[in-house]
């Protein structure tokens, strides 16, 4: 009977052990395959002629956590010697190329990079730095990790882990009775739990099953599983699993697992490059990532790190001198966690990819995602938004008890690359992404599309005089729509260039009604507005809701000569095996003629030089040609600015989340943010080539009459189709019959055509 019971118990016990064995083995095997997708910024291309001064170049290397040294000793280091910068590039993977570690010498002068040479002294035409890791797409339970292979682990790390956490790791069978006894002894003497006595294998098991409660039952279960793991796998496998598994920090919803990610999270560089004090710090954190959070409890962590160093010296893992030297080093932790820099941008990346990939593919399949993000543009956008919103909060007129919000999108118009996104003033906060989700009235941002339609009709040009006069549009139900100008005045006859530059509502409504609401709606849709706008007269003053990203899509076509390209954040997706899975190549579609867009862009330049954008001029380089348009929605609820140079388009929105009026026009709110961003990027002037068939003329800004220096003070330069009649200003010495430009250009065109015949 007793024997029978014992037999049953033995069978049940064995079954339980077998079950635990199966469970932990499966967990171990399965864990190797869940790798969150890694997301990379655009790499910096280096080439002769890049106007990047040596100091900024060094800054870009520091951003990638290259270390400045006097002797290049390993990948990830650089040295500066006068105008020569030598860098030991790390091995890197790009969507189209895997590159080994190599030496590169960069010669810089006053204008930037003059030449690049390889280690043999041969000229290198172009070389890119490795892309900055900007984050990962981890599963909803929050575990993020970068898995490292044993080859990527500095040998010091396992040695240090064993010395501090599990001295008999190499010889025990999963549990270490000696360590348990020792721990009990220490605990008994201290009267509190100071040492766990758990082996690395036990810690691994605990991490797999997320059990923080320490009951006796769990301890037994954990011990059985540890013994099972030890029986099935080699010590090397277990050590590698531990290094990739263990919890090492928390960042909001994101749990930092494994030393590979912890190295990026705390130091911003690959695990292989960590030195003694850095490794000692991570080993110190293992004991309690929250209690020993290096960013919050620096003193406590420093003490524990130095204790680890002392232990390493005592156990002869390192020499006493090395340990003492390392103990004098500061913690060296980067101020902000890497990979949490750009939540709004990552949000756009995730949404782009969710069209093509299941969540599970993104969070488990070890994909590498290469994006267009330009860290320099992103930094400039974040800084400008934070600083200017703080200033605007200070000066705001309405002063509600909450603070202003804002969003920024920056693109490279020619490719449609989105190079920066800021989703709110708390740039590190992964919450409401205003750049993608705030649908706000576009206000006067709509006006360029009205004038584009007008230019396309052939009935309007920059000098065409339109009437800025009261408008009364009868609406269904006997109501009337009577818009007003911003400052309630009426300006009478004005040229188109001024109507747009000064953002005159009445004149623009007149033009819009003449062009027709369907035409305006169609123009917006051609440029990329996805939802058809409601065709009501108020549409002409911007009663069309768009997100900052949609506004950027619309203006990108204006910045790109009338070609639309789908804005893109993701350039390529590479599988865990290194094979390209998906590419998102540049695509262009012509949506307007170069002639119409050129004329419009010149009007938008007048906005910056003469109109509502002029307050940005003192903040920008004097020679920089930029084009743009302010937008203010009704009752100052939304303050917009959209504008571009030859290299970048930036859209800024400023407002309150609850739609309270801000008291700021586009020029007062969004424009200074815009100007600071553009001033912080190394912009090229807008310089689209003037299409054949257009001519440059100067007209008087208030009247639209043809003018010359000397006969009119207040002039503005515009482009008009050759042959249009522009009324000359009396006394300017134009021929009586009208138009100097026309005659000159007609002759010139004839001449040029003869040349090519």
């Amino acid at each position: 009977m007793l024997l029978g019971l014992l037999g049953v118990a033995a069978v049940a016990g064995s079954a339980w052990v077998l079950y635990l064995d199966l469970l932990v083995t499966r967990q171990f095997e399965g864990r190797r395959w869940t790798l969150p997708a890694l997301v990379y910024a655009a790499p910096l291309e280096l080439y002769a002629g890049l106007p990047l001064p040596a100091a900024e170049l060094a800054h870009e290397l520091e951003r990638l956590h290259y270390r400045r040294v006097t002797q290049l000793d390993r990948p990830g280091t650089y040295r500066i010697n006068g105008g020569r910068l030598d860098v030991a590039l790390r091995p890197a993977r790009f969507p189209d190329e895997k590159r080994d570690a190599q030496l590169l010498s960069i010669f810089t002068g006053a204008d930037g990079i003059e030449s690049l040479r390889d280690s043999a002294g041969h000229e290198v035409p172009v070389m890119r730095l490795e892309p900055l890791l900007i984050g990962s797409i981890f599963p909803s339970h929050g575990e993020d990790r970068i898995v490292v292979t044993p080859q990527e682990v500095p040998p010091l790390l396992p040695a240090a882990l064993k010395a501090v956490e599990d001295r008999r790791f190499d010889s025990h069978r999963g549990v270490d009775p000696q360590a348990i006894l020792r721990a009990l002894w220490v605990d008994a003497r201290a009267g509190q739990i100071e040492q766990g006595g758990s082996t690395l294998t036990q810690q691994l098991v605990r991490s797999y099953f997320l059990s923080s409660r320490q009951t006796l039952g769990r301890k037994v279960r954990e011990a059985i599983m540890a013994i099972a793991l030890d029986a099935h796998f080699t010590k090397d496998d277990l050590m590698n699993a531990y290094i990739n598994e263990i919890f090492l920090g928390q960042d909001g919803d994101r749990a930092i697992h494994g030393f590979g990610l912890a190295s990026q999270f705390y130091f911003g560089k690959p695990l292989a490059e960590l030195d003694l004090p850095e490794i000692a710090l991570l080993v110190a954190v293992v004991r309690g990532p929250s209690y020993y959070d290096p960013r919050r409890h620096a003193d406590r962590v420093l003490a524990r790190r130095n204790l680890v160093l002392k232990e390493l010296a005592e156990q002869h893992v390192v020499s006493a001198a090395e340990a003492a030297q390392a103990a004098r080093r500061p913690l060296g932790v980067s101020p902000r966690p890497a990979g949490a820099y750009y939540p709004a941008y990552l949000d756009f990346v995730r949404r782009t990819l969710r069209r093509d990939y299941r969540d599970q593919d993104l969070t488990e399949a070890g994909l590498s995602i290469y994006t267009s993000l330009d860290p320099r543009a992103q930094d400039a956008a974040e800084r400008a938004l934070e600083r200017e919103l703080a200033r605007l909060d200070h000066v705001k007129k309405h002063a509600p008890d909450h603070s202003l919000e804002g969003a920024v999108v920056v693109t490279e118009p020619q490719s449609g690359d989105v190079i920066a996104i800021v989703g709110g003033r708390d740039v590190g906060y992964d919450g409401f992404d205003r750049a993608l989700d705030a649908h706000r009235a576009m206000g006067s941002l709509v006006k360029p599309f009205i004038y584009l339609g007008a230019l396309e009709s052939g009935r309007y040009n920059a000098a065409t005089v339109v009437q800025d006069q009261p408008v009364d549009v009868p609406l269904p139900g006997g109501r009337h729509w009577r818009p007003e100008n911003f400052n309630h005045d009426v300006n009478g006859p004005v040229p188109v260039v001024r109507a747009l530059a000064d953002s005159l509502n009445l004149a623009t409504v007149g033009v819009g009604l003449d062009v027709g609401l369907p035409k305006v709606a169609e123009t917006l849709q051609r440029f990329g507005l996805e939802r058809p706008p409601e065709q009501v007269p108020a549409m002409l003053l911007g009663a069309v809701n768009v997100t900052p990203l949609e506004a950027a899509q619309l203006y990108n076509g204006l910045a790109n000569g009338g070609f639309r390209n789908p804005l893109r954040a993701v350039r390529a997706v590479i599988g865990a095996d290194g094979k390209a899975l998906k590419a998102f190549p540049v695509q262009v579609t012509q949506v307007a003629t170069p002639e119409a867009v050129y004329q419009l862009d010149r009007l938008l330049i007048a906005v910056m030089d003469r109109g509502t954008g002029r307050s940005a001029r003192p903040l920008l380089p004097a020679q920089l040609v930029v084009a743009g348009k302010s937008g203010t929605s009704s009752e100052f609820r939304d303050s917009w600015f959209a504008g571009f140079s030859g290299s970048d388009l930036t859209v800024v929105w400023v407002g309150y989340d609850d739609n309270t009026p801000t008291g700021f026009t586009g020029s007062a709110g969004a424009l200074p943010v815009w100007a600071h961003i553009m001033a912080g990027l190394n912009e090229r002037s807008w310089n689209a080539p003037m299409p054949d068939g257009l001519v440059d003329i100067e007209i008087e800004y208030p009247t639209g009459l043809r003018a010359l220096p000397g006969c009119a003070e207040d002039r503005v330069s515009v482009a008009v189709p050759a042959g249009v009649q522009v009324q000359p200003k009396p006394g300017c010495g134009f021929p009586d019959n009208g138009n100097l430009t026309t005659t000159l250009t007609d002759r010139a065109h004839q001449w040029i055509h003869e040349l090519f015949r």
């Binding site: 020619q414 490719s415 001029r617 003037m690």
Partner: protein, 177 residues
């Protein structure tokens, strides 16, 4: 006035596209391309302006500017050709885009991108890229001709032979082969 420096005299700016050299020595015309004058971070600019004429000298004949590829873009284009010849179209496109980020306004790169699209039987996109190239190639008859030839080939690929012949003849007029 702050914009004054950016605005050359009317006569000069009206004519500058046609006789660039005639305005040499004056401040650059406002919204004309002044290639190479203000290179930005992401573009070294590589269209070569005609040599400025000495004062009093007769302006050189054609307005032509000539786009060339800078050394970096040139190396990348060569690499892209190798990739495309090996059937690696996605890699070739990625390489051409690297060049494009260095010289986004160079019509020759848009022609290259379009040619690559054509090799992948994407004639509509090739056509668009040809038109993009054309819009940037103003003043460079060789680049304009290259764009028209791309457009012609992309039309032919879609069986639009009449339009293709017209595009070809435009190309020949601009720059006889």
């Amino acid at each position: 006035m702050k914009t004054g420096g950016r605005i050359a005299s009317t006569a000069c700016s009206a004519l500058v596209a046609i006789v660039l050299a005639a305005c040499a020595g004056r401040p650059p015309a406002p919204y004309e391309r002044t290639p190479g004058a203000t290179p930005g971070t992401r573009s070294p600019g590589s269209a070569q302006p005609p040599a400025p004429a000495a004062p009093g000298e007769r302006p050189p004949a054609p307005a032509a500017r000539q786009y060339r590829l800078g050394p970096a873009a040139n190396a990348l284009v060569a690499q892209a050709h190798t990739q495309a010849n090996g059937g690696e179209f996605a890699g070739a496109a990625a390489t051409l885009e690297r060049a494009l980020r260095i010289e986004p306004d160079n019509p020759l790169l848009w022609v290259e991108l379009g040619r690559l699209q054509l090799q992948q039987d994407n004639a509509a996109q090739a056509d668009s890229m040809g038109r993009k190239a054309l819009s940037l190639a103003t003043g460079d008859p060789d680049a304009q001709a290259a764009a028209w030839r791309l457009i012609a080939d992309s039309l032919r690929a879609r069986g639009r032979n009449g339009e293709a012949a017209e595009a070809d003849s435009r190309a020949s007029t601009l720059s006889p082969r």
